[in-house]
């Protein structure tokens, strides 16, 4: 069963927190990966790999680099779940 946007956001926040050491609460939908969360391209790859595993979706590398905010990633995963 497809997860809701809220559930995806929660799961993604946990993954980001694990990779960056930031508290889960600091990962908000409007946060930008690069500026707000200080996530570089290599960390982004790690986060997206764990997200693929957790949400059972495929996130191509070129998509991963174009996701600017956490909400962008949530929306992408939400759509990918339906595919």
């Amino acid at each position: 069963m497809a997860l809701s946007a809220t559930e995806i956001l929660e799961g993604l926040a946990e993954i980001v927190s694990e990779e960056t050491g930031l508290p889960v609460e600091s990962v908000k939908a409007e946060s930008t990966f690069a500026e707000d969360l200080d996530i570089d391209s290599l960390s982004m790859m790690t986060i997206m790999t764990y997200a693929e595993e957790r949400f059972n979706v495929r996130i191509p590398d070129e998509e991963a680099t174009s996701l600017s905010t956490v909400q962008d990633a949530v929306s992408f995963i939400e759509k990918a779940q339906e595919a």
């Binding site: 790859m45 790999t49 590398d61």
Partner: protein
């Protein structure tokens, strides 16, 4: 009926001695940051590299191979007359033929040893150890000198932000011979040419010759994708090597991955669930990424600095352009070359 006589197999092989030489020039991040509009902080944070070692102008790939090979032979205690194969992993021997291995074999007084180069980039050394193990156990070779060596500074572009700034020069070597006990576990190896574009030469020598592109061909990589492949695809390969050797991750004393990037090393350590006290090779911080030379150089350092000792169980894994990869569990040799 006529029956052929075949070689007598030997039960086990092991690494008998290790040697290594690094380029003598210490190149700092500040030395190379200008042309890539970068900084010491950015490079350290992205790669863990503080310095990389590059060869002096008058030191060739063959010179480094000869020196590392001599050290490994001395450390092994093997009579050079009993070394009958030389395998050299490299992608920076700048002549199509003859092989670097044949010349190095002769310089070391090993003629008429069989000698050949292998092109498996950063997996070259582990490919060589896998072959040496098979040759010795099959009885095809008595002792094999395996060398991983690169003069990567010949194929770098100072303005390239993808890979050049990581690269260093050096040569590492190991002598593999017969053993009373198992010393080299099964090699888990492979390749996937469909990913060849991830790490490659900018253009071919023919393009260079024909004048279509007269810039010197250098290397490029798709960094983030290579990171993802190396980390998440290679950890399972390493686990298969552990399993093939009949061991569990907690049995590994020393982890010696290809020194590609400290971030890859750190992530692999997490994924492999190795023991908290596992010794992890981090030679990349001072030596940089030396491709085929990185694993034997990292091993040489661990032994020389007494961070690791002979008899310990080490997991080694090489991975890189091709893409090609190889992993095996080995028992570390007792001795390293002492200067």
């Amino acid at each position: 009926m006529t029956t052929l006589k075949v070689t007598e197999p030997t039960a086990y092989s092991r690494i008998l001695g290790i040697g290594g030489v690094r380029g003598e020039r210490v190149v700092t991040n500040d030395d190379i940051a200008g042309p890539i509009n970068s900084s010491d902080e950015w490079i350290q944070q992205r790669t863990g590299i503080v310095t990389r070692r590059r060869a002096a102008a008058d030191v060739s790939l063959l010179d480094m191979c000869e020196q590392a090979g001599r050290q490994a032979i001395e450390a092994s205690g093997v009579d050079p007359a009993e070394i009958d194969v030389v395998i050299l992993g490299t992608i920076t021997h700048m002549e199509q033929t003859p092989s670097a291995a044949a010349i190095v074999a002769d310089r070391l007084g090993l003629t008429p040893a069989a000698a050949y180069d292998i092109s498996a980039a950063c997996a070259g050394y582990c490919y060589g150890i896998g072959q040496a193990d098979a040759l010795v156990r099959a009885g095809t070779a008595q002792n094999v000198l395996v060398i991983g060596a690169e003069r990567m500074s010949d194929v770098i572009d100072p303005t390239d932000r993808t890979i050049s700034f990581l690269l260093g020069d050096g040569a590492g070597a190991a002598v593999v011979g017969a053993s009373d006990t198992p010393g080299i576990g099964p090699t888990i190896w492979g390749s996937d040419g469909s990913l060849a574009h991830l790490i490659k030469q900018t253009h071919s020598w023919l393009t260079f010759r024909d004048g279509t592109d007269t810039t010197w061909p250098t290397l490029r990589q798709e960094g983030p994708t290579v990171y993802k492949w190396a980390t998440f695809q290679m950890a399972p390969v390493a686990l298969r090597a552990i399993e093939a050797a009949g061991l569990q991750p907690e049995d590994i004393d020393v982890f010696i991955p290809h020194q590609a990037n400290m971030r890859i090393i750190d992530q692999m350590v997490k994924l492999l669930h190795l023991r908290d006290d596992v010794i992890v090779a981090r030679d990349i911080a001072e030596t940089g990424n030396t491709s085929a030379a990185s694993i034997p150089l990292a091993t040489e350092r661990l032994l020389r600095e007494n961070q690791a000792t002979g008899g310990q169980i080490a997991l080694q894994i090489g991975f890189g352009a091709g893409v090609a990869y190889a992993a095996q569990v080995v028992v570390l040799p007792n001795k390293t070359h002492t200067v």
